[in-house]
């Protein structure tokens, strides 16, 4: 099963490689990884999406907790949470129907066109994994020439976690529509 781990680690040189090294040395899998500052700049949040049964995930959490500079490890997946990933996608689309098709997908997925040339568009899409995956799949037949994805970030929902944002509604709506 897919799990998203949130690891709070000291923002010091070499600490990220300690975490990554632990994953490779113990044969754990990393699907995506992203790192950024937290509210307190002395600490970074490393978000890792990994795959494994409950025992493997437990091992990963415990092994990460052994690291001297890791303050906290959370399996975000165990509680209601919001996940986002961003992708920048270069699509071959000249001024003909291809471009129209891309633009209609962009508006349907609440994505953005961020760069335009005579032959190509760069579009920016964000959302949960399924939404970004679906968007890319729909663009693929038109002609993607490059993709860069950020990897996931995640945060647990507030206590009154049943209130969903407008965009979340939108994502789920699109998925239900099988887009």
């Amino acid at each position: 099963m897919r799990h998203t781990l949130s690891i709070i680690v000291a923002d010091q040189p070499g600490e990220l490689s300690r975490i990554v090294g632990l994953f490779s040395a113990r044969g754990f899998n990393i699907q995506t990884i992203s790192v950024g500052e937290t509210l307190d700049p002395r600490w970074s949040r490393v978000t890792i999406v990994t795959r494994g049964d409950d025992r493997t995930i437990q091992q990963i959490v415990k092994q990460c907790e052994r690291l001297a500079r890791v303050r906290e490890v959370q399996d975000v997946t165990t509680r209601p949470h919001i996940e986002r990933e961003m992708a920048l996608i270069t699509v071959a689309a000249d001024a003909g129907t291809a471009r129209q098709e891309v633009l209609s997908l962009v508006s349907g997925f609440r994505a953005k066109v961020v760069d335009i040339s005579h032959t190509h568009l760069i579009v920016e899409a964000s959302g949960n994994k399924e939404k970004v995956d679906t968007f890319i799949e729909l663009l693929r037949p038109i002609g993607i020439t490059d993709i860069t994805r950020t990897g996931h970030i995640a945060i647990n929902r507030l206590a009154a976690g049943d209130i969903v944002s407008e965009e979340e509604d939108e994502d789920e709506y699109l998925l239900r529509q099988g887009r």
Binding site: P13, R18, A68
Partner: protein
């Protein structure tokens, strides 16, 4: 204002930690530190080794014989890489060390400078933590935290890498406020409910076995373990690292567990209904094939390292706690039971003990004697007799190590110092030197093979230089014995690259180093030669020619279980 150099701060911080012994080897990157150590020689004695691996193993011998943190100082590049084997060894055997490595000056880092290596990168997977100190003001704090990390929780090695310019830099204050301070106290609290449930399971178990490991020695839990086992008459099977944590001569002791463990210990685990795992990590040399390990048992696992729990075996009850603390809780709960209740609990296991006694009688550890050849097992038995069972024994890795584990009944923790996890040949001699230094009034014997001895025999010079009268028993069979045994048993006797019979004359080698050399080639020479060597005042090497193709039995083949045990 008092400005001091990084090297001075480092040495003062070491003195503050109570360090009086350092094992090391100088080089360019640590010259400032060595200069300072010379000035501090009244406080700290530095032992100059002959190879950096020896320094780390000596520090391990020092640490494991005393429980104190062993300290090593080596230079950058090859100094650090030579130390890596020892660091990895300490990591796997949970030995507290602080290893200080020199590094090229900061402005040369990353330029492939002379004697530059990414020490922090290379050692990262085999340390509890490591540091690259970039500012002399951080040194005192780093040293303080390093010692705390090395000895707290599950002990282990910590590396401090210090660029040369940092040791020369002047600082007028130290800062202790870097992240990590104050020390994280992740020490798990004892879950009282879990303790009660564990004890209830133990009291009602019909076929329990205690599986006791290195954690017993590290937490000083030998007395509580003994009291607990005696109170409930529980059978105890120590691991290699657990030997001495429960007296081998005790009637409740089944002998060592695992690949070369006793038949009774392995069968008891195979048949038990409750496995009480104390200070262990379910190493593959104990469990064999995990799927069929202790197949009928519920498992109670107590270990200080939460990551050990559920790593290889999912316990039905886990206590991430100090094993001594847990045992003391068990004992105080046992004492609340009435005599009648205890009697019932003990009596209900009568038939279990009968089965165990049956296994012990049917398949004791044994070997066949020989009138013409010295049997290696008999060397260990003779050594046990002559030392009255009181020596500190260190070993290398291989057949002789297993014979020591089988035929030298250890009665105290920290009495056997062996390379358990990493399986490092060449560990025995330097570990013995470190132990001898820490325990001056005790007899320290390194039992080594002719293979392992030749990996670190240069440390004879260290032993002679510092008059550390270790005794080295070489079990000389001209083979890499354990590999040869596997080739005999599992590779159709294809002896591929295991013949090391071309070797120096070890008696002459000892003498060349200024040590005494003794030799035993026939059974009737063994007693006198061994006695003479042990009684010798200084460093003594005894070369014992043992029967060449002896095998270690029993053996549970790799990836198999107790039922597949080959006993003869």
């Amino acid at each position: 204002m008092d400005w001091t150099t990084g090297a001075q701060i480092l040495v003062e911080a070491l003195v503050y930690e109570g360090v009086d012994t350092i094992f090391g080897y100088p080089g360019g990157a640590v010259l400032h530190i060595y200069d300072e150590l010379w000035r501090a020689r009244d406080c700290i004695t530095h032992y100059l080794v002959r190879h950096e691996q020896g320094a780390v193993h000596m520090a391990e011998g020092y640490a494991r014989s005393t429980g104190r943190v062993g300290v090593v100082l080596v230079t950058s590049g090859p100094g650090a890489t030579n130390a890596v084997t020892g660091i990895a060894n300490a990591y796997l055997d949970s030995t507290p060390l602080v290893v200080i490595t020199g590094q090229v000056p900061k402005h040369l880092i990353g330029t492939d400078a002379f004697q530059e290596v990414d020490t922090v990168g290379i050692t990262r997977p085999c340390v509890k933590h490591n540091y690259l100190v970039r500012d002399a003001r951080d040194l005192a704090g780093v040293v303080r935290e390093a010692f705390h990390l090395a000895r707290s929780g599950r002990p282990g090695p910590v590396v401090i890498d210090i660029p040369k310019d940092v040791t020369a830099a002047r600082a007028n204050h130290s800062r202790l406020d870097h992240v990590g301070f104050p020390f994280s106290t992740k020490r798990p609290a004892l879950d009282q409910k879990a303790v009660e449930r564990a004890l209830a399971a133990i009291m009602s178990a019909q076929r329990p076995v205690v599986y006791a490991g290195g954690g017993i020695a590290n937490s000083g839990a030998d007395q509580p373990l003994r009291l607990f086992a005696e109170a409930l008459r529980l059978p105890v099977a120590p691991t290699l690292m657990g030997l001495g944590g429960f007296p081998s001569s005790h009637p409740l002791c089944l002998g060592m567990l695992g690949m070369h463990g006793t038949y009774a210990a392995n069968m008891a685990v195979a048949e038990c209904d409750l496995l009480i795992a104390l200070g262990v990590r379910f190493d593959d040399r104990v469990t064999g094939k995990l799927a069929t390990f202790a197949p009928h048992a519920r498992v109670i696992h107590v270990d200080i390292d939460p990551a050990n729990i559920g790593k290889n075996v999912a316990p039905s009850l886990a206590l991430a706690a100090d094993v001594k603390q847990a045992l003391q809780e068990f004992i105080s709960l046992v004492q609340q039971h009435g005599e009648e209740q205890l009697r019932q609990s003990i009596d209900s296991r009568e038939s279990w003990w009968n089965r165990i006694r049956g296994w012990q009688r049917s398949q004791p550890l044994r070997f066949s004697g020989s009138p013409s050849q010295i049997k290696p097992q008999s060397v260990i038995q003779e050594l046990h007799r002559l030392t009255k069972g009181n020596a500190i024994i260190t070993t290398d890795v291989g057949q002789h190590q297993m014979w020591v584990a089988q035929f030298y009944p250890f009665t105290k923790t920290r009495q056997l110092i062996t390379s358990g996890g990493l399986g490092t040949m060449g560990f025995g001699l330097p570990a013995a030197i470190g132990a001898q230094l820490a325990c001056r009034d005790q007899l320290v014997v390194a039992v080594v093979g002719d293979g392992g001895f030749q990996m670190t025999n240069q440390e004879l010079a260290t032993a002679v230089q510092y008059e550390l009268p270790v005794k080295i028993v070489i079990m000389n069979n001209g083979y890499l014995g354990m590999v040869r045994q596997w080739q005999e048993m599992f590779y159709d006797r294809t002896y591929s690259e295991v013949d090391i019979s071309v070797a120096p004359d070890f008696v002459k080698l000892a003498e060349a180093y200024g040590a005494a050399g003794f030799r035993a080639a026939k059974p009737d020479e063994l007693h006198h030669a061994l006695a003479a060597a042990l009684n010798h005042k200084g460093v003594a090497v005894i070369d014992v020619a043992v029967s060449k193709e002896e095998n270690v039995f029993p053996i549970v083949p790799a990836g198999a279980n107790a039922r597949d045990m080959i006993v003869q």
